[in-house]
Amino acid sequence: MKASEILKPTFWKVVSVIIVTMGLFSTYFRFSRGLGATTNLHDTVPWGLWIGFDFLGVGLAAAGFTIAATVHIFHIHKFEPLVRPAILTAFLGYSVVVCLLVVDLGRPENFWHPLVMWNIHSVMFEITWCLICYTTVLMLEFAPVVLEKFNFKAPIKILKMISIPIVIAGVLFSTLHQSSFGSLYLIVPGKLHPLWYSSLLPVHFYISCIAAGLSMIIFESFLIARSFTKEDGFYNTGLQMDVLSGAAFAVLIALIAGFLLKIYDFVENGKLIYLTIFSTETYLFDLEIILGTILPIYVLSFRKFREDKKWLYIISIFVISGLILNRLNVSITGLAASSGVNYFPSFDEISITMMLVVLALFAFRLIAKYFPLFVNEESEDPVNGRVQINHNY
């Protein structure tokens, strides 16, 4: 692509440049002036938007392990076109999370301490190690894409040999990691609002991330089809409705499982009474369940809607919205009443978060442009020297 085309201003390019510029200034202020001067976090509310976004980023990145396991462990090769985009999404999602965690640390220069100073009785220890291990696994899973580009045959061969153990390790780490975010809140039964507090919180987190992660992949497929056009030099980025419809069915199953578990939890623990109390928490909980669970279950139950691209797109937005509400409700809304303080993120918190999201999107586009992410044609197998069909998106 010519430099003139890259520099040609478009609406989203201008918006992105503004967001990144503001984000860079905010990052500078955050590291030069400290958390207290640049955020609305304090001793009563030590965790805010950034932690909420960590939960969100990890939840939406769940398609990485779900799709990889479906294709490589259960051999449902129909979903193979989604593997590479899903793994890249997961990797970038986790990278955003890692960056936000470093920004969020009071002493960011000590970020390496958990590696050597083990506190095996802390849930944070499990989270940290799962985060590190799964990000490493994602790197290994995505490495063949980079190695193929530079035709490094020997490392690809080694990675192919250990691909199944890597995928299994990825599933284990992400299962632990996704659920341990829920476990983190088990230690605050008196502080987290009963609408969200549950001893089943780890299971809720795990099931909801599967539905949302797959919805994210559906949503992302539409973004790819919308933005990565032939005019920009992209090929094989069109919608594969049969694959997406299959993913939507899996979303339906996960949503139903999550909803049934929630009903059981409410009935078993006598929490139904809280639904009748008029409060901000109740309204937000209702919105979360209606938007992110009940409506999607209803629509996805009809096959004609699952095979309709318009409804798939809308429902993927609904499910993602449900996850946004759920994770931010658990991490912020549900704790607000007990803390007695109203928290709203500062400009710097918002701009740094938005900058990282924009940078992740930019990285995705750059990698998609220069690496074989959407290949769907015959090419020579770099390991065996045979002609093979790449079924990637």
């Binding site: 989203w12 089809a225 919308r226 409705m241 937000l284 691209k309 318009k310 797109y313 937005i317 946004i324």
Partner: protein
Amino acid sequence: MVAIFVLILFLLIITLDLLVLKIQGKNHPAFEPSLPQFDLLMFDENNLTIPKNIFFSKGHTWLKRNTDELIDIGIDTFGTIALGTLSILKFAEVGKELKRGEMIFEGSYGNKIVKFPSPVNGIVKSVNTNIIGKIISDPYETWGVQLISKDLPGNRNIFLSGSEASNWMKKEFIKLKSFIDDHSPNIETAGTTMYDGGSLSSDMTSTLVNQSTDDFEKEFLSL
């Protein structure tokens, strides 16, 4: 309120993107007009009815054992209507020893030529010249080529039949819709007639899949 703020921001960006596309005169992939012709094909169960004793190759030809070594070969429903109406132009020569994958039929959709590969090795015994240039109304009763081949009994696992074939055929129609969406240089080229529920004419198809025949063959007519 943080949750509501983030949710509104997320929905605002999506709405803004739709508005930007509208101003640019483009369609978001989710809201592009659908192609009723293909919706119809996809859900027309008659197109998915698979006769007994017929095997399907992934190159969209069907095979039926006529006598011990004689196999009737024709083009399946998908092949006959995929991109409009197929017109058979020529067959492999009588007496020729065909290898699996070599051209057995050549046809056209509008002015686009496509080649169907032979599903098995064999010698061409006879060809059905009566169907040249005609519409094939009953694909599974209309064979095009008879091959002398011993390949069918030993290789049944590479062919599809029964419900397996029916499911595969349905997936092929769904895949075709994505293919059309992907290869249409400009969705408007399909013409307003299609969006109003009309038929896909050969001319429209030619425009729609302009220079995409190779992709079509690779995607749908390879074994």
